[in-house]
């Protein structure tokens, strides 16, 4: 009995330590970024374009912030509705489970495609064959393809997690599927779907490979014109590092990228609270 108690506490201890370890690594990353990049982040850095010679050694990252926001926003715009529709079909409507199994398999395979391959595909199709050139449109499309499986799977799971009894009650009142979906299932699943969107946003914001060959430029206005190239934070970061332009600027850029993701996360949390409050009524 005493031995069993000992193993219980040992197990809890190990679980605690692993959690703590991850937290420490996360904290270390942020602290390191603040330490190395913090002094170089200023209003000027946030609000001006890259300057100097080589380009980027001075000035700021404003167009890269704008570009990243455009890329994320458009990628979500392209993929959210198809992903939600797929998720709703998979969780609510499939009578033929063979088709559902096939779709699930496809989505899983899609999640396994390396992002650079997606980038090359969109390059071949959009940039070259359709003549869009290196552009916001092509880049956001590549990111949309990349985040589609994340969105579809997380939304599907969020919908499936809703108590089956609610659907049963609604059906036995004679209430139709779509009404039940809109009034009960979807509102209940909003927090889960939102969590998926967040995950996808972070994934898209940090992805460099798919935009390298489709959208990103070393310098651009990033004013949201679909057929023009854009700057993006991860690509800018990559160039600053890879071309040894300025380590200080690189760390500052990394800090801005992390900060941007944190802000998006907080916004989503706030939205989630808001929707929970309206749901409760």
């Amino acid at each position: 009995m005493r031995l069993r108690n000992f193993f219980d506490s040992l197990l809890i201890g190990i679980l605690w330590l692993s959690g703590l370890f991850i937290l420490l690594i996360l904290l270390a990353i942020i602290v390191y970024l603040v330490w190395r990049g913090g002094p170089f982040v200023s209003m000027e850095f946030l609000l001006t374009s890259p300057k100097g010679l080589p380009l980027g050694s001075e000035g700021g990252v404003f167009p890269a912030i704008k570009g990243t926001l455009w890329l994320i926003g458009l990628a979500l715009a392209w993929s959210l509705l198809p992903a939600l529709a797929t998720a709703i079909y998979l969780s609510e409507y499939h009578d033929n489970s063979r088709i559902a199994t096939l779709i699930n398999l496809l989505i899983q395979s899609m999640a396994g495609v390396p992002s650079i391959v997606i980038g090359l595909f969109v390059y071949a199709l959009g940039v070259v064959a359709l003549g869009w050139g290196i552009s916001l449109l092509a880049g956001s499309l590549a990111l949309a393809i990349m985040i589609f499986p994340v969105l579809a799977i997380s939304s599907r799971d969020a919908l499936q997690a809703i108590d089956q009894d609610y659907r049963l009650v609604a059906t036995s009142l004679g209430v139709g599927n779509s009404y039940t979906l809109l009034r009960i299932v979807l509102p209940q699943a909003v927090p889960g779907i939102l969590a998926g969107i967040l995950l996808a946003t972070g994934y898209a914001a940090g992805a460099t490979a798919p935009i390298m060959v489709t959208a990103a430029a070393i310098i651009a206005n990033s004013s949201g014109v679909l057929l023009e190239p854009v700057m993006a934070l991860p690509y800018h970061l990559y160039i600053l590092f890879n071309e040894h332009i300025s380590l200080d600027q690189a760390y500052a850029t990394a800090l801005v990228l992390v900060g941007l993701l944190l802000i998006i996360n907080f916004l989503a949390l706030w939205l989630q609270r808001l929707s929970e409050r309206t749901n409760a009524q």
Binding site: D95, D163, D165, Y166, L168, V169, A170, T171, S172, L173, G174, V175, G176, Y179, R183, I184, P187, Q188, N279, A280, Q281
Partner: protein, 249 residues
Amino acid sequence: MNAVELINFNSQYSRNKVLRNINLIFAPNAITAIIGPSGCGKTTLLRSINRTAEMESSYKNQGDIKVLGQSVFTIKDVSRVRRQVGLVYQTPIALPFSIKENVLFGPKYYGEKKPANLNFILEDCLQKAALWDEVKDRLDKPASQLSGGQKQRLAIARTLAVKPQVLLLDEPCSSLDPASTGLIEELLQSLAHELTIIIVTHNLFQARRIANETVFILDGEVIEKGPTETLFTSPVSEKTKNFTAGLFG
């Protein structure tokens, strides 16, 4: 006219026969209890009547079920059958809304918009479900805050709100305490003046307390049906005698 009538009714999940050759007549404005050991097909019988059993893709049936003289299988719009034949489940289920919205979920779906009518339905159904006095001051509070017994009465009110003619209950009191059970039994007895009630129960005492007639089902077959007192005191079948005496169950 008979409220519910099953004619040579058989049903199965895949190859597993659940109900065999059921011929039953349920009288209007009365309570009929269905008793029998677990797995004998009681729940499938209820779900077949309001056609929710068909949601299971392996489910098949033969024979006919008539509600108020009309075969439920000839009605194209299956939701009409389900509305006509309400079903209350074993576990009390509160939809993730306020108490008020739980009751009005059905009526709103069926297009009732006038606040006066909605308020009337709300109070009327909660009164009938013997819940009004307990919740009238907190209609806008989440229904999840209610106790198990209250949730079950809310489920009954929600079902009544779409004006069913037949009310099916699948062991509605199995997770409730004796006081809540008593309340529900009382309200069922008063509802029986205007509704046909069919209740599946594991509790033989409950069947005896509230049911006008009782049906005993074993292995998917009707063994005996009759006035409750007769079935319990002088059953025709040896099996019924053993079951009601508690020899198996």
